[in-house]
């Protein structure tokens, strides 16, 4: 049985269709990457699946729960790391996690041991009592992932998990995501702009363009599909999305990305 399933999932903003009849099936334990140019609808799709954005039409199920009619059940079985920062810089890493442990309905007695386990797992135990504003960018991202995994959700959504990080911090975050997947058999749905990241972390990749799903498969299947010897995922990306490639994002998303990059140092 699919753990994530969308059926003709659509979101419109006025006359603009951000996500157009999206059909995805993701099996338990898979790592699935959504790729596409700026404005392709990746983040909008994740926002609908995490119940943050109302659906215009279609439906989707996470662990069998309908995102429209059972949003609170869905929130209980997912972890979500947004593109922007989602921890408070004034508080320590431990405080941030303790508060979220209580929001995720973890029984009071189990909160502290669970938080300590998560901090240890993410390699943050030595910095547990430091204010988050003293953390490096990679440490903040790991803390955010730890925060989203406190309740051991079967599904984790990562919206551009390494945006604004340097290559070394990226590598550490990737290692922890892979370790997490191995340890808890977590199903991961992620968006990214980095082909290397998608290739490294995911079993299957889907390309979106103008809100529609234009291709999907394993990284190798996608490379083979364009009939170009020695092709890379960049070639696949250009092949399937070149009609819509532009020079960049709109003002608000550029501003958001730069703010996130700046805050991550």
């Amino acid at each position: 049985m699919a753990i994530i399933e969308t059926k003709k999932l659509t979101r419109k903003f006025g006359s603009f269709t951000a996500v157009d009849s999206l059909d995805i099936i993701i099996e338990p334990g898979e790592a699935f990457a959504l790729l596409g140019p700026n404005g392709a609808g990746k983040t909008t799709a994740i926002k609908m699946l995490t119940t943050l954005l109302p659906v215009t039409s279609g439906e989707a199920f996470i662990c069998g729960f309908n995102i429209v009619t059972q949003p609170n059940k869905v929130r209980g079985v997912i972890g979500y790391v947004p593109q922007m920062l989602s921890v408070d810089g004034t508080l320590s890493g431990m405080e941030n996690l303790l508060l979220f442990a209580r929001l995720y309905d973890i029984p009071s007695k189990e909160c502290k041991p669970r938080v300590l386990d998560s901090l240890t797992f993410m390699g943050l135990i030595d910095a547990a009592k430091k204010p988050v504003r003293e953390y490096s960018g990679g440490m903040i991202r790991r803390l955010e992932i730890a925060q989203s995994m406190l309740h051991h959700p079967p599904v984790l959504f990562l919206d551009e998990p390494t945006v604004g990080l340097d290559p070394i911090a990226c590598k550490t975050v990737w290692d922890h995501i892979l370790q997490l997947k191995k340890e808890f058999n977590t199903t991961i749905l992620m968006t990214t702009h980095l082909m290397e990241e998608a290739d490294h972390l995911s079993n299957r990749i889907a390309f979106m363009s103008r809100g529609k799903l234009v291709a999907s498969g394993t990284p190798q299947e996608l490379k083979d599909s364009i009939n170009k010897p020695g092709s890379t995922l960049e070639d696949v990306f250009i092949h399937y999305t070149s009609e819509t490639l532009s020079e960049g994002n709109n003002y608000s998303s550029i501003s958001r990305e730069r703010k996130t990059a700046k805050r991550l140092g």
Partner: protein, 253 residues
Amino acid sequence: MRKFIRKTWVIADFEIRKILHDPTEVLVRAVQPALWLLIFGQVMARMRVIPGGNYLDFMSPGILAQSILFVSIFYGIAIIWERDLGLTHKFLATPTPRTALVLGKALSAGIRCIPLMFIIYILAALLSVHVLWNPANIIGVIVLLLLGAILFSTFSLIIACLVKTRERFMGIGQLMTMPLFFASNAIYPIDIMPGWLKIISHFNPLTYMIDGMRLLMIGTPSGFSLLTDYCVLAISSTLFVLLGGSLYKRVII
């Protein structure tokens, strides 16, 4: 219901920890009421605005209520800031009722005002205001303070959810504060207001908060009855929290 209270408290606790990590904000916020009491109050006291009464006695509860209004009414800016940071997305993706998120935030606005209340009490006492230090009265003032802060901060949150940007919010925040303040009994009694303003002041919840505070803080008989003051604030706060709960998700769309 137990889960709702627990989660409301988690959100409030989140905010309280921030104040404990950086309490300078509370001290800085105390400067404005201090200036009102020390300068405006001392000057106005010479004009005998209150026939047969001490103006500083009359004004102190009004300044306390004004401080609560000013702290709460700009709370929406924090909501927009959290949205820009990404924290709001994270809160909304947890299995937490929206009304608990809103009430927790509103409650924390009230908790931020409690140290401010004690600073104003001490300042007023130093200015020879006849402050009632009875613990029951102080608890009564704290309840009024919390209800008022919940009401005005939720009102602010609703505006933030509708206007969505800091620039627009700042303009509207300024626009809301002064009419609420001047159309109340904070610095002059309702009796001396022109007829049209008297009518407006009766629809202003700040008037009821000040009326109750004046009775509990300095012993001036209530104009409406303490029960009326509590009921007006409790009912309007509940309505605003319910409305805020249904609008909160809009701030990220």
